[in-house]
């Protein structure tokens, strides 16, 4: 009777162990689980005989392994390839930010040389490396450059900096596309999606400050708890895949340069009915999520206050000082990813 009881107890323990492992294996993508879960479970049972729970190091390795597999980190790519993919992500995020700002702030009435179709084409070109083949992506990027130049010339626009701010990332996109065939993972598309989503949210929540509230309200009100969660996710994600941090940082640098060309006063003058505080808030909506995603990468913790300051006074480059060592750190992480 004792033997039967002991055997039943062992069986129930093994079942509990298997249930726990299967829950941990959910960290892996479904297709990967279908292929490997049974094999991994067999190995886990063999390495943890008679245990009800896997060892902590097994739990950590399964969670990290699952997330690495989800971010395509279970295959080795050379450092240059990783940087190229990060650059493609950066271009995509930057051009998405430009397009989202253009739509949300009604900039088509301010920049007639850049009709919505040209902006839309730039954006489609920016997300095409994720979805289409290299030839299609190259053709779309080239078309977007031609469209921007043609429209600029036709409308005799006077803001050459705006043209540069759109065309340079498109040319960079073309250059990166010509450097290799490895396509960035499709699941990165949630990042441009987040840019669009946050911009819409910022626009919806944007309310001018009242005489009783000196700070702009809206996105700020929900920002702190959201920021804590996102920063935690960003820190974990950078440990897994630093390419995203590098890409986001590149896009953020681009947005910073763009706003340097566009001091706050000039923006206020150009956007009818906009108060500086309202504009500041919308700008935060667009740029701040980039800081949050890029948490351990450049500029995140340091850039926020200089950015406020620059938007108020119209200049400021000091954010570069803390950004450089942090950028080097992110690049070092990408280099580590290339080690077998």
């Amino acid at each position: 009777v004792d033997d039967v009881t002991a055997s039943m107890s062992e069986d129930s323990q093994a079942m509990a162990f298997e249930r726990c492992c299967r829950a941990l294996l959910l960290a892996y993508p479904a297709a990967y689980r279908a292929e490997r879960a049974d094999e991994m479970l067999g190995t886990l049972l063999a390495t943890n005989p008679g245990k009800a729970w896997p060892m902590p190091r097994d739990i950590c390795a399964l969670l990290l392994g699952g997330l690495r597999t989800r971010s395509d980190q279970n295959r080795r790519l050379a450092t240059l390839t990783n940087l190229r993919l990060a650059g493609l992500l950066g271009c995509s995020l930057y051009l998405t930010t430009v397009a989202a700002t253009y739509v949300s702030q009604g900039l088509w009435s301010q920049y007639p040389w850049q009709p919505p179709a040209a902006v839309a084409l730039s954006w489609v070109a920016a997300v095409s490396p994720f979805l289409a083949g290299r030839r299609v992506a190259v053709a779309l990027s080239a078309l977007a450059v031609v469209a921007d130049f043609t429209c600029f010339k036709y409308w005799e626009g006077d803001n050459r900096q705006q043209l540069v701010a759109t065309v340079v990332p498109l040319l960079l996109l073309l250059m990166l596309l010509s450097r290799g065939a490895t396509r960035p993972p499709r699941h990165w598309l949630w990042l441009p999606g987040l840019v669009v989503g946050t911009t819409v949210l910022a626009q919806l929540l944007a309310t001018p400050p009242t005489p009783y509230v000196s700070q702009p309200v809206g996105l700020w009100a929900v920002h702190t708890p959201l920021a804590i969660v996102l920063i935690a996710v960003a820190v974990l994600w950078t440990a897994i895949d630093a390419r995203i941090a590098v890409g986001v940082a590149a896009a953020y640098f681009g947005v910073q340069f763009l706003t340097t060309f566009q001091p706050a006063d000039e923006l206020v003058a150009r956007v009818p009915g906009a108060s500086q505080a309202l504009l500041l808030q919308v700008h935060h909506g667009v740029a701040q999520h980039l800081e949050i995603i890029a948490a351990p990468a450049p500029q995140t913790w340091f850039a926020a206050s200089p950015m406020d300051w620059r938007l108020t006074w119209g200049f400021g480059w000091e954010w570069l000082a803390p950004a450089v060592p942090l950028a080097l750190l992110a690049l070092w992480r990408v280099r580590r990813q290339a080690v077998l």
């Binding site: 094999e39 067999g42 080795r76």
Partner: protein
């Protein structure tokens, strides 16, 4: 042209080394790597399979056989020619680095630290 030498972490090195004598399944690789490294490399299951994915994508390791044991699939992995060459290249690199130290004559402390010996 020679394939460039890829930097290799210690766990990867011992996973490849464990397959030198023939194909092994996951659990056997973990045990063999631990044994070969004198207990230093204790691979967790998640780490092992991430390493196997990378090594398979790199063409260093290949799936050799599949069998069903106690209702579960068990796969055995073997070392490819490329994997064997990469392992030997890494071993040679480490041996050359080790020889720098092991082949050098012991140097007096005063020379190592750049201090002049005091006159007796």
């Amino acid at each position: 042209m020679d394939k460039p030498v890829i930097p290799m972490r210690e766990p990867t090195y011992f996973v490849l080394a464990s397959l030198l004598q023939g194909p092994l399944h996951g659990y056997a690789i973990i045990k063999r790597a631990e044994e070969l490294s004198g207990g230093r490399v204790r691979l967790a299951t998640g780490t092992l399979y991430t390493a196997l994915d990378r090594l398979t994508a790199e063409g260093y390791v290949t799936l050799v056989s599949e069998e069903v044991v106690a209702g579960r699939i068990r796969r055995s992995y073997g070392l490819t020619d490329g994997g064997s060459a990469a392992l030997r290249a890494e071993a040679q690199r480490m041996a050359e680095a080790a020889r720098l130290v092991t082949d050098s004559e012991p140097v007096p402390r005063s020379v190592r630290l750049g201090r002049k010996a005091r006159p007796a």
